[in-house]
Amino acid sequence: MKWSEIFTSSVGKKWVMGLTGIFLVLFLIVHVGLNACIWAMDNGEMFNRAAHFMGSNAVPRILEVGLFAGFLLHMIQGWMLEWQNRSKRKQGYAVSMGNQGSKWYSRSMGILGTLLFLFLVMHINHFWVPSRITGLDAVTIDGKQYHDLYREMLTVFQNNPLVVGLYTLGCISLFWHLLHGFQSAFRTLGVTNPRYLAFIENTGLVFSLVVCTAFALMPISMYMGWVK
């Protein structure tokens, strides 16, 4: 069988969703880890160095291309699947099954994903565009010039409750999206062993909680003035 047939079958498409999903989960680990440097309480020095490494080293720059490709594939495939799946029942039910047997967030991956997409548009506009395209103020650390991405974060979050609120909403959407997506990806890839599935489900829960809480606390700590 040809690859083109396999990856356009319903199972193949889900496989692409699962694989890109896990790739994006790995990205989240790097992202949350680096961003946590804002809590080093060193006026953003460690964070700016980390951001500089990500922006100047060849490996993260190449991975960045893969990251954009992964995001695009995950989003486009996700929307197409959502649309195709919804079209499989033209005449709907008068009485919906609701939460009997499935969780609301497992049925809402499309809408949660769309919220995350909207969040990403704002987020990329806030930080990626200035640091890569339009430029940022420089800061000198140990005689070397760095982009002051930390100052940019403070500018965006410090006096802007609306933006902080939107970021928190983004993190909440991410939590529910991950809570289903994390374990679902492994099922799609073919994990059947109940022992591993229990482990994966628990890991997914802890991962979603920790990562999303940490992300949400970043704008909140700048707004509240916990980091300055």
Partner: protein
């Protein structure tokens, strides 16, 4: 349990044929015994309709003992009604109280077109089975039962998957109208046994291809299928099908 009778209001989907749009009709039924099965209650309604010179409600049924997979009613927002691991024919009226309103709909999915009223065409499932849900054996005298060794765990898992009666409740419950629980049960029960091994690779490929062709959706692992399955088929089978399919797809020539 104490016997009681009840008066009910039924809201039933009536549809003349596949082409004509359907609508809900409301029917009162009186003196329904708590000992009746749900289908017997529909029988009472139909006798009443025939006496009134009206068209009785068409619905699928056969064994009425929960093993044939013919009955297919979506009752108050749930395939096969409110009980767990149960078919419509084995749902008894003691699940309801006097004065209840019960909404009955057919399985709804493009792949299951309504033939009439509550009766849908599930021949898509037959075509999926024809695409690969079998093993090829030479006929003749039966092989000795112990000639092929089967590991007990695999035999049990295969048996659990083989319990699927092909009723289609999984499709009816799934937000994507996906038939993955059905297909995965059929693939699993053969893939887990040595007899299923010669055609293992082509089976998963052909059955998934037919499933897609019939117009069922993709699986998003919500678990609604497993929750309504009258035979308690586990969604672990879906993960097994995913593995079978992709391993074959990526490794085969």
């Amino acid at each position: 349990m104490e016997h009681y009778t009840m008066n009910l209001t039924l809201k039933i989907w009536r549809q003349q044929n596949t082409q004509t749009p359907g609508r809900f009709e409301t029917y009162p039924v009186k003196n329904i015994s708590s000992e009746m099965s749900f289908l017997e209650m529909i029988d009472v309604l139909n006798e009443q309709l025939i006496k009134e010179g009206k068209d009785p409600v068409a619905f699928d049924h056969d064994c009425r003992e929960g093993i044939c997979g013919m009955c297919s009613m979506y009752i108050n927002g749930r395939p096969h009604g409110p009980w767990q691991k149960n078919t419509t024919c084995q749902l008894h009226m003691r699940a309801y109280q006097d004065g209840d309103t019960i909404t009955v709909e057919p399985w709804r999915a493009n792949a299951f077109p309504v033939i009439k009223d509550l009766m849908v065409d599930r021949s898509a499932f037959d075509r999926i089975i024809q695409a690969g849900g079998y093993i090829s054996v030479n006929t003749g005298s039966a092989v000795d039962a112990n000639a092929i060794a089967v590991e007990k765990d695999h035999a049990d898992a295969a048996f659990a998957a083989a319990a699927c009666i092909g009723c289609g409740a999984c499709v009816a419950a799934c937000k994507n109208s996906s038939a993955m629980l059905f297909v995965s049960a059929k693939v699993s029960h053969l893939a887990l046994l040595p007899q299923g091994s010669p055609e293992r690779k082509t089976r998963s490929m052909n059955m998934v291809a037919q499933m897609d062709k019939e117009g069922f959706g993709a699986c998003t692992n919500t678990g609604a299928c497993e929750a309504v399955c009258p035979k308690g088929i586990s969604i672990e089978n879906i993960a097994r099908l995913n593995r079978e399919y992709m391993m074959t797809g990526l490794s085969d020539d």
